[in-house]
């Protein structure tokens, strides 16, 4: 029983300390600029997103998304 409780506690702690790795595909003209302006205006936002800048959201292919998850991303955020 106590072992199980320990286990649960450990899981909960792991969950709390979980730092997701998220890949972001940002459009150069929209979301990337929005992210830039958010940074310039000193808004706080989570640092979990690794950004790939694309010249247009239309450039993104199903393969990119699948490949990102294959490489171990926990999520893919596409910003147009």
């Amino acid at each position: 029983m106590s072992a199980q409780m320990d286990n649960n506690k450990e899981n909960a702690m792991a969950q709390e300390g979980f730092d997701p790795r998220i890949l972001g595909f940002f459009c150069h003209w929209c979301c990337y600029a929005a992210a830039d302006s958010a940074g310039v205006s000193r808004y706080q936002y989570p640092p979990n997103v690794r950004v790939v800048r694309v010249m247009c959201t239309g450039r993104i292919d199903t393969r990119f998304v699948l490949e990102a998850f294959k490489c171990g991303a926990d999520g893919v955020f596409t910003g147009g």
Binding site: Q15, F18, P20, I22, W29, C30, C31, A33, A34, A35, S37, A38, V40, S41, Y43, Q44, Y45, P46, N48, V49, T57, I60, D61, T62, R63, V65, L66, E67, F69, K70, G72, A73, D74, G75, V76, F77, T78, G79, G80
Partner: protein, 168 residues
């Protein structure tokens, strides 16, 4: 594209909510912050890849996704995708239900068949396996595996070996 990606992820066992498509214009810094914060919290709620609800183990997901990446580059599903895109531009119906239904019936069958075939090749790379084992590993039903094996055998990519199958 987003709908194809979502359904392909679901096919590979990944929760499709992990993929998100949002819009924020260049002037919408605060909105962007809101979107990112919401999304990061959502992923935190889902847990790491392979730990979410109904998600298979991380190594199974990795195998499924490697197969899915190859399948997404295959000619047949890409042609189906292009044809569907043209057809939708003509009809002008972009409602989420219509898109989802069209992708499910027109693109996914080909994509799933390719994914199963690619995954069979990956599974067989480390030794011969029976059709039932392959069905369990790929998460496909017996008929789908049978069909994929027949097609692969025709291309001499696999061959029957005793009661099982091996790379040809």
């Amino acid at each position: 594209m987003a709908e194809v990606a979502r359904q392909a992820l679901a096919d590979a066992g990944v929760n499709p909510q992990r993929m998100s498509l949002e819009w924020a214009s260049a002037a919408e810094g605060p909105r962007f912050v809101e979107l990112i914060t919401y999304y990061v919290n959502k992923i935190k709620g889902l847990g790491a890849l392979g730990q979410g609800e109904n998600e298979p183990e991380a190594d199974v997901i990795a195998r499924r996704l490697s197969a899915a990446v190859k399948a997404a580059g295959a000619r047949k599903p890409r042609t189906a995708f292009g044809t569907l895109a043209k057809k939708m531009a003509k009809s002008g119906d972009y409602s989420p239900e219509a898109v989802s239904e069209a992708v499910r019936t027109k693109v996914m069958p080909g994509l799933r068949a390719e994914r199963i075939a690619e995954e069979i090749l990956i599974c067989l790379a480390d030794g011969a396996k029976s059709a039932a084992d392959l069905a369990a590993m790929t998460g496909a039903d017996d008929a789908e595996v049978e069909k994929a094996l027949t097609a692969l055998a025709k291309k001499k990519a696999v061959r029957e070996e005793g009661a099982g199958w091996a790379l040809g």
